[in-house]
């Protein structure tokens, strides 16, 4: 078997909301049901799971994914507690399938009933003794990288705001987005929004919301008998510089993180950046979108915002980016958020994105994490050839 004989055959997203009445396990199970139904499969068809266990309940023993065999009542041939989900889980699933450990893998996750209480989401403020006393949280780590970049390329601030406004406006007209109906926004709205951590205002930064996301991965052979056109894995790459949010990210080390992963992924796929039709970049903030264009080889260092503006990253642009509204406007569901990127890439490639369908979206890029996080991953997905 080859990489492009691994296919995503089902995607499932629960409603994405600011605060859910459910818990994380319920939304992960809901998303799994939706993804299996979308794939035309039953839970008894699953023989591999990369889902960890979001709680509540479950055993305290790792791997948490094994608890899913109890919940679903199915014996499993393979499990993986992929960290995070999204692309790393897809690569894990592909490995399990390519080595004959499983034929049909469920990836599911998300968060619900965990936000609120006047604090930012717990996953954004790791309890490290060399981080916590100084009041750092995830956005501040990204900000310390951004401040170095803007000292070199001050013009990028305006372009960041244009990027944030464009992606938020894409989400504004997506009825499934958490921020549906909010906006439209201009770059000036972004620049004059309440500041959170310089250079970012509230509108430069992604949401923290609740919901579940799941995908089902299987062999291309099996996929051919299922309802939707199979979306195959053309290439993938990962980079891990160091543990996230402990030792601070240094601009010169982290700015281009993703470039090696992109060379790997594009090399496997036999494609280049100009072949990408839709880019589901990991838009944790406005500058990260520009940074990824630079790191992934779409343009040079310091050119990311100009590239975005000249190319057009809205639905009518030459490179529609974050076509569901992204983490900025659609949803960000913690460790499950990277799976949202896979789901939207799959919808676009197989032509099931509804009103937000981009014409001739044959090759999609889906990504996870970024510079302040000090790791990055991406996958290239396309129709079976």
């Amino acid at each position: 078997m080859r990489l492009d004989e691994v296919a995503i055959v089902g995607v499932g997203l629960t409603p994405q909301v600011k605060r859910s009445e459910k818990n994380s396990l319920q939304v992960a199970l809901d998303a799994a049901r939706l993804a299996l139904a979308d794939a035309g499969l039953r839970h008894t068809d699953v023989d591999g799971i990369a889902a960890r266990w979001p709680g509540p309940g479950g055993t305290e023993l790792a791997p948490g994914s094994a608890d899913w065999s109890t919940l679903l009542g199915v014996p499993l041939g393979w499990i993986g507690d992929s960290y995070p989900q999204g692309v790393p889980a897809l690569v894990d699933a592909a490995g399990a399938i390519l080595t004959g450990q499983a034929t049909t893998v469920l990836i599911t996750g998300g968060q619900a009933g965990v936000l609120g209480g006047g604090t930012v989401a717990a996953y954004t403020r790791p309890g490290n003794e060399f981080v916590e006393p100084f009041g750092a949280f995830t956005a501040t780590h990204f900000a310390l990288v951004a401040q170095r970049h803007l000292a070199r390329f001050p013009h990028a601030r305006r372009g960041m705001a244009e990027i944030a406004a464009t992606i938020r406006n894409t989400g504004s007209v997506n009825p499934a987005a958490v921020m549906h109906g909010r906006g439209p926004y201009t770059a000036d709205d972004v620049l004059t929004a309440p500041p959170v951590v310089d250079p970012f205002t509230l509108l430069d930064l992604c949401l923290a919301s609740e919901g579940g996301a799941a995908v089902v991965v299987t062999t291309l052979e099996r996929a051919r008998d299922l309802p939707h056109p199979p979306v195959v894995l053309l290439g993938a790459g990962m980079e891990w510089l160091r543990q996230q949010y402990v030792d601070p990210a240094r601009y010169e080390q982290v700015w281009s993180i993703g470039s090696a992963a992109a060379r790997k992924a594009f090399g496997q796929a036999g494609l280049g950046p100009s072949d990408v039709d839709v880019a589901q970049l990991y838009d944790v903030n406005s500058l990260e979108v520009a940074r990824q264009f630079e790191a992934l080889g779409f343009c040079g260092e310091g050119e990311g915002t100009d590239f975005a503006l000249a190319t057009g990253i809205g639905a009518d642009g030459k490179l529609p980016t974050c076509t569901d509204g992204g983490l900025l406007s659609f949803s960000h569901i913690g460790w499950g958020a990277p799976t949202l990127k896979l789901a939207e890439a799959v919808h676009q490639v197989r032509g099931t994105a509804g009103d937000r369908q981009i014409a001739r979206a044959e090759i999609a890029l889906a990504a996870g994490a970024g510079s302040g996080a000090q790791y990055y991953n991406l996958a290239l997905l396309g129709r079976a050839r």
Binding site: T124, L144, P195, P248, R250
Partner: protein, 121 residues
């Protein structure tokens, strides 16, 4: 605090800034790890730092991640003269520029003495 980091915090109680230095290759590193990231030697110890360095990056935090934290405050990365760096609080009314010289000062925070840095006069 762990066995690995207790030496840092007990020095901080005395308002002394220390950092791990490898006894084999001389590398300075931070945060503390069980072995030197240059040569993997576990033969390292906490040595006093001059507390002098330069601002690598700095930002103003306008919104705290938890209630009860006064905003705005200044957060930065400081490169110490001995060749190591740390995430820290920057004190003073003005945000220091990148490359500004700074020196260590100390804050009492949640019952603990923590290092912060201020622009060198």
């Amino acid at each position: 605090m762990t066995e690995l980091t207790a030496g840092f915090w007990s020095a901080a109680e005395r308002r002394e800034l220390v950092r791990p230095v490898c006894g084999d290759c001389g590398r300075n590193f931070f945060t503390p790890q069980i072995a030197c990231p240059e040569c993997l030697s576990e033969n390292w110890s906490y040595e006093p730092s001059s507390g002098c360095g330069r601002v690598y990056s700095a930002t103003v935090v306008h919104k705290a991640s938890t209630p009860g934290v006064e905003v705005p405050f200044h957060l930065g990365i400081v490169d110490l003269d001995e060749g190591w760096s740390m995430l820290t609080t920057l004190v003073g009314s003005r945000l220091p520029a990148i490359d500004a010289p700074v020196e260590v000062t100390w804050l009492e925070r949640d019952g603990r003495t923590v290092p912060a840095f201020r622009e060198t006069a």
